[in-house]
């Protein structure tokens, strides 16, 4: 957080006189200012001979604070942004796209929950292929060596009715559009996200449409537990970082969450209670291996009812 002393060159009102006054109230940084009762501070300027200057200084800091929050918008601004910039991206499976009213929305953090071999990675790869084929760039963060070019080739092959040459070309394009990075711990994840954000801001990267993290739970669960708050704090921070990235750069983010054993032989998502309120959309995947039919049901969605479900066949 910026120290008041670092602000003087841009804002001459915050001179050493003003800073001494603030320091006498234990205010050294902008953060201290936020926690302080500004009315009490304004009143206490009265005892000083240069109270006018001090009051101007306080107003100056307030205008600085006013730039530190996100912009005020109204419903119409939000709607315009949503309609113009937040598209639905395909999952590569028609029945899922129809079920989700178009697919995975840009600006959303979507989570797939499911036991192992319920098809989480398959859906990630299908979505990556479909988006890379006709929408643009995809970043695939892989925590378990689950990304396989061979499976991508299969998907491209199955989903198109092209000639052998055209399939090859489509596969090339898909692979060119997918950036795959191995991430094995949460600190690397933070680094990658920050780098991504930096590149997007300085427009070093072309527009990224989709970010996939398969699986995010295997990166977060090792830091939870032990009773301390820090693991949870890191988890929630990742959540906010991702939601911000998704919103500001119109990216659809897809993460997976595996299941662990719960009470009485049931299974529950590895990221539990404190994670529940982070994603926009939570989808539960299950699979009937005998009938070879998969099922997706809504755990949470901004407007779809919890429990809504669709059955589909995974290739």
């Amino acid at each position: 957080m910026p120290l008041l002393s670092s602000l003087e060159c841009d804002y001459p009102l915050i001179n050493s006189d003003f800073r001494n006054f603030c320091a006498s109230h234990a205010i050294i940084s902008v953060e201290d200012f936020l926690l302080h009762d500004l009315y009490a501070l304004l009143t206490s300027t009265e005892q000083h001979h240069n109270f006018k200057r001090l009051k101007e200084g306080i107003t100056q800091v307030l205008t600085i604070i006013n730039k530190k929050h996100q912009p005020w918008l109204d419903g119409q601004d939000l709607l315009d942004d949503a309609l113009q910039n937040k598209h639905f991206l395909p999952t590569g499976c028609r029945s899922i796209d129809a079920f989700l009213h178009g697919g995975l929305r840009e600006g959303y953090l979507t989570e797939l929950v499911g036991t192992s071999s319920s098809g989480k990675t398959q859906i990630c790869l299908q979505a990556a292929s479909a988006v890379a084929k006709s929408w643009g760039k995809v970043v695939f963060l892989d925590s378990g060596n689950s990304f396989s070019p061979k499976r991508v080739a299969q998907i491209v092959n199955q989903t198109s009715d092209l000639s052998a040459y055209e399939v090859d070309e489509a596969f090339q394009q898909v692979m060119n559009n997918i950036v795959c990075l191995s991430v094995f711990d949460i600190f690397t994840l933070f680094e990658v996200i920050h780098q991504l954000k930096h590149n997007l801001r300085s427009q070093l990267d072309q527009h990224i449409r989709m970010l996939i993290i398969d699986s995010i739970s295997s990166l977060i669960t090792p830091i939870l537990g032990g009773g301390g708050a820090h693991g949870h704090a890191l988890m929630v921070s990742v959540g906010f970082l991702l939601k911000r990235l998704a919103h500001e750069h119109d990216i659809s983010i897809l993460v997976t969450n595996h299941m662990v054993a719960g009470e009485r032989g049931t299974s529950k998502p590895a990221l539990g209670e404190s994670w529940r309120s982070i994603p926009h959309v939570r989808l539960l995947l299950s699979r009937d291996h005998i009938r070879n039919i998969s099922c997706m049901s809504i755990l949470r969605h901004p407007h779809m009812a919890t429990g809504d479900r669709v059955e589909f066949e995974l290739q």
Binding site: M1, A26, I27, I28, E31, D32, L34, L35, D37, L38, Y39, L62, I65, N66, K68, H69, Q70, P71, W72, L73, D74, G75, Q76, D77, L78, L79, D81, A82, Y108, L109, G228, A229, H230, H232, A233, M235, V236, S237, F240, K243, R244, H247, E273, S274, R276, S277, P279, H280, L299, R300, P302, H303, A305, T306, G307, D308
Partner: protein, 339 residues
């Protein structure tokens, strides 16, 4: 001089009229309909995630931004501004716009003066079904919905510190003030704040953005703002159900209110009622926030599957403690009590 002092400033009638225009009761949909709420109240909607908390806020917002009457059609709104502070950062504006459109269409169906073109109000939800609605009314209402998102406590406090300035600005721009302040949800930064030390390193007399100091400041700032700008504050709080009060107990607890009592559930509800301070969920906010809240309603999903496509929720007022629980369902059309 002394005479002037004892003479009344206004009659009771004048006083009542003034209060009712300055601080009208907000017409609210279930589950917030049980208790008359008005400016100055701080309502907390607490419940597990998901339990329709944000949807309740959206429906309340629509009641506030719609006008009472527009071109001869009655909409029953307040025609005031709403400020939505999004701490969860996942507000879905499409839900708001869909609900608002439906409400406008419905009011026209019931209204006396049919000034609009015929509206196909088919529930099938075909794409053109709601094409005809008053676009001008929709747009001015959407403009009355003010929105800001905060990604951490620093931004939240920066928002609150400059809120008065913004409230004044909006009042001048719209000719009417903000009447609903919404915070969704208050515990969003709990873990991040809890992990930060309460005293910054290398200092003894300063405080850092810890859970306690942030809550203290949030309460203090809202209190000060409410003195100058009377508003109804609606907040949500995500909370997990108490472990000893999980699924089975919740079922029996809800049965208590529907009259289907089994022996087991009588036992259960008795143990629940016997323990003095019954807590249905795990409380985690500092006491300064808890005592700031004037009204608290607890919502949770019920496993009643009367309507296949529509989950039913239970609402129970904890503050003031009403000994009843409402079953309600909520969708884009609004929210309804389920018998």
């Amino acid at each position: 001089m002394a005479r002037q002092w004892i003479e009344g400033d206004e009659t009771a009638k004048e006083f009542l009229t003034r209060v009712l225009t300055e601080r009208p009761f907000v017409p609210l949909l279930p589950p917030l309909h049980r208790i008359p709420l008005r400016a100055g109240n701080v309502v907390e909607i607490v419940g597990p995630s998901p339990s329709s908390k944000t949807r309740i806020l959206i429906q309340a917002a629509i009641n506030c931004i719609l006008p009472k009457e527009w071109k001869g059609v009655n909409y029953g709104g307040l025609e005031r501004l709403v400020m939505f502070v999004d701490l969860d950062c996942r507000f879905d504006v499409l839900s708001l716009s869909r609900s608002l459109k439906k409400r406008i269409v419905r009011a026209n169906g019931n209204g006396v003066g049919h000034k609009l073109n015929k509206v196909d109000d088919s529930p099938s939800g075909s794409k053109d079904a709601h094409a005809e609605y008053d676009k001008e009314l929709f747009s001015v209402s959407m403009r009355r919905f003010l929105y800001i998102r905060c990604y951490d406590s620093f931004e939240f406090l920066a928002t609150l510190k400059t809120l008065q300035l913004q409230l004044q600005k909006e009042k001048e721009a719209h000719g009417t003030g903000v009447y609903l302040l919404m915070i969704d949800s208050i515990g969003a930064f709990y873990w991040m704040d809890r992990a930060s030390p309460s005293i910054p390193p290398g200092s003894t007399n300063r405080r850092s953005l810890s859970l306690q100091s942030v809550s203290d400041t949030v309460v203090q700032e809202i209190q000060k703002i409410l003195v100058v700008h009377p508003m109804l504050v609606l907040t949500t709080k995500a909370a997990s159900l108490q472990e000893k009060f999980t699924t089975r107990d919740v079922i029996s607890h809800s049965n208590r209110n529907t009259g289907q009592l089994s022996v087991e559930s009588i036992l259960d509800s008795r143990t629940i009622r016997n323990s003095a301070n019954v807590q249905l969920y795990r409380e985690y906010m500092p006491s300064v926030w808890q005592s700031f809240v004037s009204h608290r309603v607890f919502v949770r999903p019920s496993d009643d599957t009367k309507y296949e496509k529509q989950p039913i929720y239970l609402a129970e007022w904890l503050l003031p403690s009403l000994n009843l629980s409402d079953k309600f369902t909520i969708n884009d059309d609004g929210s309804y009590i389920v018998p």
